[in-house]
Amino acid sequence: MVLERSRTGVIPTQESVPEATASEPEPITAPDPSGAVIVALAQFYPRLGDVGVNVAAHLTTIAAAAAGGAGLVVFPELSLTGYFLKDQAPEVALTLDSPEVHALLDASRAGDIDVVAGLILESDQHRFYNASLYISGGDVVHVHRKVYLPTYGLFDEQRYLAAGDRFRAFDAPLGRRTHHHWRAGILICEDLWHPTSAALLARQGVDLIICPSASPGRGLLQGEAVGTASSYDVMTRTYAQLFTTYLLYCNRSGFEDGVGFWGGSRVVDPSGSVVAEVPGAQEAVLFHSIERSALRRARVAYPLLRDERNDVNDAETDRLRRRHTRG
């Protein structure tokens, strides 16, 4: 399935989206023993600084994902605003009370579908966060404010934005149709480059790491295999396998000031296998069914979380902290 609102230069192709695409799934009436739920990753091209246009595109995609049977649709980092905002950040900022956010809440209720969307979130103290919302049934269930704001190379986030200070897991209601429980956490783009982020979520028992991203392609002269995409390939597969969790990586599409975002949105299963992927940078919506039973199989085969020595980790962390305090 492909987004109808496609931008120039990013030519969606029907056949380029993998088989994972769901066509007209049957409504689930009884609990499914596999605990399957369809997730949709919207590899989207936001218009830079135009929240109105982007909200409208979100509503179209949310409805399409719901019609495709998805229980969750994930949009990329800063999907409501675009990425290289610079001085626009305060101008496009929203609060949880903004009508644009309420439009997404209404869409989630109307479509009976959970939504992860990215925005500049303004606090009461007028700080501006790069945030992603988890929305379900007309409510904001969870807010993640990006902790690691890259400020090097082509990135300048700390100039414009405030950093979040927590990684919290939450109960994601996406299993409500199958009466299965899913614990989820969100890491935004650069958060993924710090393994402690994923480790903290794993310690809180997540089954699903959702990673909205706005990753610009660079180091591309020798092809994607040695560029940024290869780093994300390694990270997403490694975290999914070592933390025996599903990982949904949703990157964006399009160009901003000549910088191209490389797409490659993917679902990685708890064994570390890439089970669905958009093969390129075009706009697309990727559908894939994730299953509780796959988590169970992976954790039977590799009981890494059971064996995790949090006591050792805590003791060593305390020792380092004391030494640091003593100077």
Partner: protein
């Protein structure tokens, strides 16, 4: 001045290009950059050299032959081979070249300043071509594509507000040797790929003679200094001539002004580009 450095494997690797991948990316860059500002067409000053020929070929590949205007702008002293090559490029791409001879306007001007040296004359020719290109840009509703490569931009080997002027530059992050790799992949005419690089601003002009170095050396040194952030000492330790390295460093520093917008006197609290920072694609 230049000695041939010993072959350096790592260096050869880092200048290598996955041509098919990069071409695909540049096709997307052109289509996106043109259409998001409300245009459908582009215009290129085609000299018959490898840079402008590559840009023309990329544009045709991205937008289709109907949406690419190539303008060939010879001066009376231009090498006749340039026109042969430019027309061969157009033929191979299925587009027609517009030919605008700049001799009358350039000669009319220098009749009033007959003592002007060849650098002044070359710069004037480059700016006349720019001026014609932007006029035709308006007439054709076509966005001007740039044809300066990374080597030229870093060395300042171009005319400010002349050949350096454009709206979108697809090849500004490609060294000259990488431009050749893409041109070969797109199968540009043989002569374009094999003749010595020249700005063709006067008879017998040659890039490598003027630079005093071969592009292979310049590109390798620039790649080490700029992309790999190696120090001068490290580059010399890899086998490059210290005189070459210093000459390149001096050129890059000396031409920094050409790569920046004009300097604005700081007075207010919010000066353009200093505190007033918006992306070029603001709202696009």
């Amino acid at each position: 001045m230049s000695t041939t450095p010993r072959p350096i494997d790592s260096d050869a690797d880092t200048l290598a290009v996955d041509a098919a991948f990069v071409i695909e990316r540049l096709r997307g860059f052109i289509a996106d950059g043109v259409r998001k500002v409300g245009f459908e067409r582009v215009i290129v000053g085609l000299s018959g050299g490898v840079d402008s020929s590559l840009v023309t070929a990329l544009a045709v590949s991205s937008l289709g032959a109907d949406n690419v205007v190539a303008v060939f702008m010879p001066y009376r002293s231009s090498d006749p081979q340039s026109q042969i090559d430019a027309l061969a490029v157009c033929d191979s791409l299925g587009i027609a070249a517009k030919v605008v001879d700049i001799t009358p306007q350039v000669d009319a001007y220098f009749e009033r300043f007959p003592d002007a040296d060849r650098t002044r004359r070359g710069n004037k020719m480059a700016r006349e071509r720019m001026s014609i290109l932007y006029d035709h840009s308006m007439a054709e509703r076509a966005l001007v594509l740039g044809t300066s490569n990374k080597t030229e931009l870093l060395l300042g080997y171009g005319t400010l507000f002349g050949d350096m002027a454009s709206a979108l530059n697809p090849i500004g992050d490609l060294y000259k040797t990488q431009v050749y790799a893409l041109a070969r992949a797109l199968e540009l005419p043989h002569s374009v790929l094999t003749k010595p690089p020249s700005a063709d601003l006067w008879v017998g002009q040659s890039d490598e003679d003027e630079l005093g170095m071969r592009y292979a050396v310049v590109d390798s040194v620039l790649n080490l200094l700029v992309d790999e952030r190696r120090s001068r000492a490290e580059v010399i330790a890899l086998g490059f001539d210290p005189g070459d390295v210093d000459a390149i460093v001096a050129r890059v520093r000396g031409s920094q002004y050409k790569r920046r917008p004009p300097v604005i006197a700081k007075l207010s609290n919010r000066t353009i580009d200093r505190e007033f920072r918006y992306p070029r694609d603001w709202g696009r």
